[in-house]
Subunit: 434 residues, 2 copies
C-alpha cells in the first residue's frame, strides 16, 4: 500500500487534492500543476471556484496566467467533496483563527476533515498544513481518519507539514522555501517526503507531527516576540528622545548576533497576531505559561492606542482635536507592497479615529476599494495622492509604507505626518514618529 | 584644533592611548599597532603590564606573537597616567558591571575618567567604548572633561563608540566588525570617524552619543530576550515531550523571518546577563518599564535551577540523591571553545550541586585549573576524560559543549548524562535533555 502510493507520487501519477484554495492552497496547487501533477482543488466557496474556472485569480500576487496554466495542466476546482475519493493525496490548507476569547478555533480543520471522511479510501495520504498547536494532527485528525476503519500507518497515511507562504516575498516561492514534515508513523513520514519531494526543493523531516507543529509556531512566536520587543524599545527610546529606527539600523550593521525587527502600529496578517496563542492555549493543559507570548501580545496590541495618542498630540499642537479633523490613512494592507488586509492594524487605527470623531479617508495603491471584511466596514475608496488632496487633510497617518507612495510629495504637501514606520529619516517639525 | 587632530589621525601620526587592557582594549591596541599607530596602553593592574612587557598574552585567543609585534611597533604599557598627555586620543575600554542590586556600576568609567583629567590637554579626543545606558557620555563624561576648562566640540572632542568584540568568533576580527560612533557635537563625530577610520573597515555614524549607547544595548537586549524566549520554549516543549533543539533546527531551515537562538543552562559572559539592566535602570528615570528585559532576566536566571532539577530527577531514577553523588561538569567557560569564565553558568551549577552535597569535579580543555574568581572558589583542576574516569561518576553534566570533547566516548562511558546543549540528537535512556 505504502510503496504503491510512494511510487505514484514519485512518478507524478498521483492525483493531488488541495482542500482550501486561499493564500496557501492556491500557490501550492499551481506548483503541483507546474511539475506535472493532476490537481483537484476543493473549496466550500462557490465564488472562488467560478473565478478560477474563468482562469482568473482573486489574489493580487498570483497572476491569472498562472491559473490558466494550471487549468491547461488539468487543474479542476470544485465544491463537490465526493471527488475526494479520486485523489491520492489530500492536503488541507484551511484557516486556523482564534475565537473572540483568543482560543484556537479549529472548526475549519475539523469540519473540513469531517467533510473528507465519507470519501476516504485505502491508499491515501492526508496532510495538514494549517498552523496549529502541537498534538492537533494526532489528537484531532487521527481519530477522525481511523473512525472510517482505515488504519493510519498501514493503509492510510497522516502527516503534518506547515505552510510557510510569504505573500509578496520576491526572493522565495513555494518551491524554494524548505518545507518541514512530520508523520504519525515512520511510514507516514516516508509518504509525506514523497508527497512534497517533487514540488519542494528541500523537504525537512522531523521525528513527529508534534515537532512539526511546534516548529511552525516557534517561527511565528519568534517574530511576534521580536516585534513586541522593538515596540517596547520604541516607547522607551521615544521617552529618551532617541529615534528607535536610527538605533535599529545602526545595530543591524553588526554582522552576527543581531537581526533587525522593526516596530509598527500593531501586528497584522493571518499568522503573527494569532498563531502564538495556539501554544499558549495548549500549554495550559500542561500547567505551563508562555509568558513571552503573553507579553508580546500585550505590547503589540497596545500599539494602535499609542499611535492614536501621537495623532492626538500632533493635532493638539496645532490647536485641533481628533474630533472633527480630517485624517488620511496611508496604506491599509497589513504589510507593504501587498493587498492583503487580514488583521491589518491600519483598519483598527481607522476605526479608532472614526470612533473619536475624525473624518477618515485612506489611500492605498494596492486596495482601490475598501473591501468587505467580517468585522469592519468602511464605505470608502482609495483617495488619489496629489498635492491639493494631501494638503486638504489635517493629518496624514503613514500606517503601511508601500514603495509606491511618493514620500517627497507627501512630505511637502502634508500639514502633519504621523510616521509609524520610520520612513522619514530626517527630523522635521511637522513629522511625528509614532 | 579639529582639523589638526583629524590630520594627525588620518596620517597615523596621532598617538593612541588605550585605557583598560582587557578583552576589548588589548585587541584594539593590536589593531592600531598593526596599521602603524604608536599606542600607549594604560591599566591599573601592574601584573598585566609586566606580562605584556614580556611579550606575552593573558587572553587565550590572543597569541603572544601579536603582543610582540605590537611592542616591535612601539607599543608601551604603563600604569603611569601622567603619560595621558602624550596621547592624542584616549579610548576608554573598562568594565561596566552591575552591583548586587542589579544597578549600573559606573565606578570603573568614572574613576578612569577622573584619573585622566589632570593630564588632559587641548586637542585630544576621548572615546568611551564601555557598554552603558543612554546619556552616560553626555551626563558623566562631558561635565568631567569640561571641569578641566576644556570646551568639548571646540578644543576637546568626545565620542561614544561601543565595542563589539566577540571572543572566539573565527569569522570576524576587530577590523571587520563595523563600528558605530556618535559624537557630542558634529565636530566630535567628525573626529571620531577619523579616530576609527584607519583601523576599522566600516565606521557607522549616528546622530548622537545616546543613539550609539542605545544601539549597543539593543544588540545585547535582543540576544538576552531571544535566549529567554527559547529557554521558556524549552520548558514548554519538555512538558509536551518534544525536543526543542530538533524544533529549533527545523525552524532554522526557514530562509527568512526566523533566526535560531539556542537554550542553555543560563546566561554567561560579560554582556548578555548584564547590559540589558543598564537600560532598565535608566528607563525608570523616564517612568517607563522594560518588561521584556525583566522577563528575560527572570526566565534566564531560573535556568540553573531547572538544570539542577533535571540532575536530581536523573539521579533519583537511579535511586540516588544529589547528596553524596559524584558529578562531573563538562565545560566551565561561558561559551564553547573559549577559556572565558566571566559570569559562567557552569560555575553556578557547580556551586549549587556542591551546596546540595554533591562531590563535584570538572573537565574543560580550555581551563586546566579552576581560576581565582571574585565570588567563586573551587580548588580543582580539569579531570582527564578517559573511559574509566567518566564511568566513575554518577552523573555527567554537559554544561558547555566544547568541540574538543569526545562525545561518543562520553556517551559510551557515562552512567547518566544531563545534556543542557542538545548535543545528543538521538534519544537514549541514559541521556536527559535539560
Amino acid at each position: 500500500m505504502k510503496s504503491t502510493l510512494i511510487q505514484k507520487l514519485d512518478d507524478k501519477q498521483a492525483i493531488i487534492g488541495i482542500v482550501g484554495l486561499g493564500y496557501v492552497g492556491l500557490p501550492l496547487t499551481i506548483r503541483y500543476c507546474e511539475v506535472g501533477y493532476k490537481v483537484i482543488g476543493f473549496d466550500i466557496d462557490p465564488t472562488k471556484i467560478s473565478v478560477l474556472e474563468q482562469g482568473k485569480s482573486y489574489i493580487e500576487h498570483i497572476p491569472g496566467s498562472a491559473i490558466q496554466a494550471a487549468v491547461a495542466q488539468g487543474f479542476e476546482a470544485t465544491t463537490d467533496f465526493s471527488r475526494v475519493s479520486e485523489a491520492d493525496a489530500l492536503i488541507i490548507c484551511v484557516p486556523t483563527p482564534l475565537n473572540q476569547y483568543r482560543e484556537p478555533d479549529l472548526s475549519f480543520v475539523t469540519n473540513t476533515t469531517d467533510a473528507l471522511l465519507p470519501y476516504l479510501r485505502p491508499g491515501q495520504v492526508v496532510s495538514l498544513e494549517s498552523t496549529t498547536y502541537p498534538g492537533t494532527t494526532d489528537e484531532e485528525l487521527l481519530p477522525r481518519v481511523e473512525s472510517t476503519g482505515l488504519k493510519v500507518g498501514e493503509n492510510a497515511f497522516l502527516v503534518y507539514s506547515p505552510e510557510r507562504e510569504d505573500p509578496g516575498n520576491a526572493n522565495f516561492s513555494t518551491c524554494t522555501i524548505p518545507k518541514v514534515c512530520g508523520g504519525f508513523t515512520p511510514a507516514c513520514l516516508e509518504v509525506g517526503m514523497a508527497l512534497y519531494g517533487q514540488v519542494i526543493d528541500r523537504v525537512v523531516p522531523v521525528s513527529s507531527t508534534r515537532a512539526a507543529e511546534l516548529t511552525k509556531l516557534l517561527e511565528n512566536i519568534h517574530r511576534a516576540v521580536n516585534i513586541g520587543l522593538v515596540n517596547e524599545m520604541k516607547i522607551v527610546a521615544d521617552k529618551m528622545g532617541i529615534d528607535i529606527h536610527e538605533v535599529i539600523r545602526a545595530a543591524a550593521t553588526k554582522p552576527f548576533g543581531f537581526v533587525p525587527y522593526y516596530p509598527g502600529p500593531g501586528l497584522g496578517g493571518h499568522c503573527i497576531p494569532i498563531d502564538p496563542f495556539y501554544l499558549t492555549w495548549k500549554a495550559r493543559e500542561y500547567g505551563v505559561h508562555t509568558r513571552f507570548i503573553e507579553l508580546a501580545g500585550e505590547v503589540n496590541s497596545a500599539m494602535p492606542d499609542y499611535v492614536i495618542a501621537k495623532v492626538g498630540a500632533g493635532l493638539n499642537a496645532l490647536k485641533k482635536s481628533i474630533n472633527g479633523s480630517r485624517v488620511l490613512a496611508l496604506g491599509i494592507s497589513y504589510k507593504k507592497n501587498v493587498d492583503d488586509m487580514r488583521e491589518s492594524p491600519s483598519v483598527m487605527l481607522m476605526e479608532k479615529l472614526r470612533d473619536l470623531g475624525a473624518d477618515v479617508s485612506y489611500s492605498d495603491p494596492h486596495v482601490p476599494i475598501f473591501p468587505k471584511m467580517r468585522r469592519h466596514k468602511f464605505e470608502l475608496s482609495s483617495v488619489p495622492l496629489d498635492y491639493e488632496t494631501i494638503a486638504s487633510y489635517d493629518c496624514v497617518l503613514l500606517a503601511t509604507d508601500h514603495d509606491k507612495f511618493d514620500y517627497e510629495l507627501i512630505k511637502k504637501a502634508a500639514k502633519l505626518i504621523v510616521d509609524t514606520r520610520g520612513r522619514y529619516l530626517q527630523p522635521s517639525p511637522h513629522i511625528i514618529k509614532a
